[in-house]
């Protein structure tokens, strides 16, 4: 039986859907989008003995990558910071071992300073009694580890790809009407292969341009930062264990350790500047990064705050072009949120529900926190005989806690972004002072840090 299960999984996993073996006609959970967040949910359902038996379907346009040996090759451009809370989710789901160092890199410090030399904050994991502040892993590594875990799960997870969602039928829902009996019809999804399956719960994990969200008619709010982010892989002379972030006049630049001596640059800047930076050779780009990190004024003693923070400043490493790495790319920066995360028989997770500015590396971690919460809600439902697609369940045990948490983070990141928005003069020195105050006040600083680490 177990053998048959695995074969079926591999079959549907490897082959295009049109030739895949028959899908079940009813699934407990149908996850649309097997990106990092969707795959993490499929894995997390294996964490509890009661949700492990749920019949799960994952649909994605692209297959999950295969796991590979810890690489010596340059890492891929897309990387994610993993907070200790996300790491815990992976440990509980059994996926952590395949993405732990040396496949990823730990960082123990975080240093944030600005271009005007007005302030610097340095955070260390040791300050809060933790061994690390977090990890940085390539998205591909995270996905491959999750795929490996899915394949080794005892019960059936059908992963179909390449396949994409075309239609979605949800039970009738009129929140404003006291319509008496609420429909509890199962949801139905239609794939591009023409196949349809029914599900007790559909999860939209299909990213920021979620088709699920659109088909479910959920409204969103969003605004553009009129900026683009440049991502690039660079090399440092020595392996680095600090996440560096500097607020430049044009926006923040982050340098994150990836693995070995590789680091990842995420540089948010104006659209025009991004265009210029993207066109540079890797060597010329590395020079620009060094200038951005080391130019301007280094933090000096702030006359308004004697003895505050400047003494904790450590100069960032020099970066070099990473031979053989993909050249730098850029993407638009925006904030987006879905007004609601749930409908009867529907839940949105990850970027489908919320997209934040990448400056604190929180994006995907908010999605992983969604996953932990939703998986716990489903476990509770199974144990108490509740319908896992019940709106009340999804509202109370998933949407309410996650929406307030995500809104808190979105507001925090957005205001931080605005404080550090490109400008000179008074505001710049004010924010320098702000950083110093932050560094001086241990309590606030520890709270912010624990929050960023997902342990608050």
């Amino acid at each position: 039986m177990r053998q048959a299960v695995k074969e079926h999984l591999l079959l549907s996993y490897r082959r295009p859907l049109s030739s895949a073996a028959s899908l079940d006609s009813i699934y407990d959970v149908a996850i649309i989008g097997g990106g990092m967040v969707g795959s993490a949910l499929a894995c997390a359902l294996g964490r509890s003995p009661v949700t492990e038996e749920l019949r799960v379907l994952v649909v994605d346009k692209v297959p999950l990558p295969e796991i590979s040996a810890p690489g010596a090759d340059p890492p891929e451009l897309r990387v994610s910071t993993l907070t200790p809370a996300s790491v815990r989710l992976f440990e509980e789901s059994g996926a952590w071992d395949s993405m732990a160092p040396p496949r990823s890199a730990a960082f123990r410090h975080m240093q944030v300073w600005d271009h005007g030399g007005n302030g610097c904050v340095r955070y260390s994991a040791a300050t809060v009694g933790l061994p690390v502040m977090g990890y940085v892993a390539e998205n591909r590594v995270i996905q491959a580890a999750l795929g490996q875990t899915l394949r080794s799960r005892r019960s059936v997870v059908d992963y179909v790809s390449p396949a994409s969602l075309q239609t979605l039928t949800l039970p009738a829902y009129a929140p404003d009407l006291h319509s008496g009996m609420q429909s509890n019809e199962l949801a139905e999804i239609g794939l591009d292969s023409g196949q349809t399956v029914r599900a007790r719960l559909v999860v939209g994990a299909d990213g920021s341009r979620s088709r699920v969200r659109e088909l479910a008619d959920l409204r969103t709010f969003s605004w553009s930062y009129h900026q683009r982010g440049i991502v690039a892989t660079v090399r440092t002379q020595h392996p680095n264990d600090t996440a560096w972030q500097r607020f430049l006049r044009t926006g923040p630049l982050a340098l994150l350790p990836v693995r070995g001596s590789y680091s990842n640059v995420v540089w948010s800047t104006s659209v025009a500047e991004a265009g210029r930076l993207q066109a540079l050779t890797p060597q010329a780009f590395a020079l620009e990064v060094n200038q951005a990190l080391q130019g301007g004024c280094m933090p000096a003693r702030n006359p308004l705050l004697p003895g505050a923070s400047s003494d904790s400043f450590i100069p960032p490493p020099t970066v070099y072009a990473a031979d053989g790495a993909a050249s730098q790319q850029s993407f638009p920066l925006a904030l987006l949120g879905s007004g609601r995360y749930v409908r009867p028989r529907l839940a949105l997770v990850g970027d489908a529900a919320h997209v934040v500015h990448p400056l604190a590396g929180q994006g995907v971690n908010l999605g992983f926190a969604d996953v932990g919460q939703l998986a716990a809600a489903l476990a509770h439902a199974v144990e108490t005989g509740r319908d896992i697609g019940d709106l009340g369940l999804l509202q109370e045990m998933y949407e309410a806690p996650r929406q307030s948490e995500n809104a808190r983070m979105m507001t925090a990141l957005d205001s931080l972004k605005r404080v550090f928005a490109p400008q000179d003069g008074l505001l710049a020195s004010l924010r320098g002072l702000g950083l110093d105050l932050l560094n001086g006040s241990g309590v606030i600083k520890r709270q912010i840090m624990r929050y960023a680490m997902g342990v608050a």
Binding site: M181, Q182, S183, V382, R386, L391
Partner: protein
């Protein structure tokens, strides 16, 4: 709402989860154990009429039965644990009630029945309201896994007893307070249970507090319920319930108060049994009675 323990007794007393909810004037409970036919002698025909109007609103969580929706997970947990204890099963597993037959007396629209069916039980739901039974049967159809494990009948406990039916467990939730002959009703619950099986009853206590909460609060001040939904004199204390069931031949396993936080609508178990409570019993196995 300033009541300390928010009430709810399904077939009638409904607190709404949100205190500002405007009650629907037409709201009325459904029959539960009220009988229409001559066989339901212990049932009160007036009760049937009072509740019939509400049947279609069984499944609206914001409707008059909102409190039942929010209480459902808690009473399901209690019943699951009691039934598992009596049958020597682990409770926190997938479908812990798999293959056990359960009778839900006064099943109404099927809230409790569906939850028990999802836990794996093969559930028979009976109610004296034909409307409630058709609501329950219709609702179950949407999910084949639920439909295949629920069977609804427009009948009374007494009628099933006359047919000689037996179940591994019998539950009667928020119904006994609407029954006119309580000792007879309790005797049928026990008679319908197989030796070694369990019985779970939840209801509303007869105390000054329950009077304040269910009658004065919900019916008179808040207008949540039409006046006359409940007759406080019919409420049963835990001691009385225990006495009736034990006299009929089953022994008490355990009990708990259930209280609702009026602000969150969230129900929790409590030592406080002054308003809502739930109690479980076990019918001794055959060999113990006839050694």
């Amino acid at each position: 709402m300033s009541m300390g323990a928010a009430l709810s007794s399904s077939r009638g007393v409904h607190t709404s989860r949100r205190t500002h909810d405007v009650p629907q004037p037409s709201a009325a409970g459904t029959s539960a154990a009220a009988a229409q036919g001559p066989a339901g002698q212990s049932m009160d025909a007036q009760e049937v009429a009072k509740f019939e109007a509400m049947a279609s609103e069984w499944w609206d969580p914001d409707g008059p039965n909102g409190a039942l929706h929010t209480m459902n997970p808690l009473r399901t947990q209690f019943a699951r644990d009691a039934i598992c204890l009596a049958h020597g099963r682990e409770a926190r597993t997938v479908q812990p009630l798999r293959d056990l037959s359960v009778l839900d007396v006064g099943c109404g629209g099927g809230l409790f029945s569906e939850a028990l069916a999802r836990l794996g039980a093969d559930v028979t739901g009976v109610d004296t309201s034909a409307t409630a039974i058709s609501v329950a049967a219709t609702h179950a159809q949407a999910d084949p896994a639920v439909a295949s494990r629920t069977h609804y009948q427009n009948a009374t406990a007494e009628q099933l007893q006359q047919q000689g039916a037996h179940f591994d467990a019998v539950v009667a939730s928020e119904v006994i307070e609407h029954v006119s002959n309580v000792p007879e009703f309790c005797a049928s619950l026990v008679a319908l249970t197989r030796p070694g099986g369990s019985i779970v009853v939840s209801t509303i206590n007869r105390t000054n507090r329950s009077y304040a909460v269910a009658i004065v609060g919900a019916e008179q001040i808040m207008g949540l319920l039409p006046k006359g939904t409940h007759q406080w004199e019919r409420f049963i204390t835990p001691e009385e319930l225990q006495e009736h069931i034990e006299r009929a031949g089953a022994e008490r396993i355990g009990d708990s108060g259930m209280v609702m936080n009026p602000f969150t609508g969230h129900w929790t178990f409590s030592a406080d049994k002054a308003v809502n409570y739930i109690m479980s019993f076990r019918k001794p196995a055959e060999q113990q009675r006839n050694p």
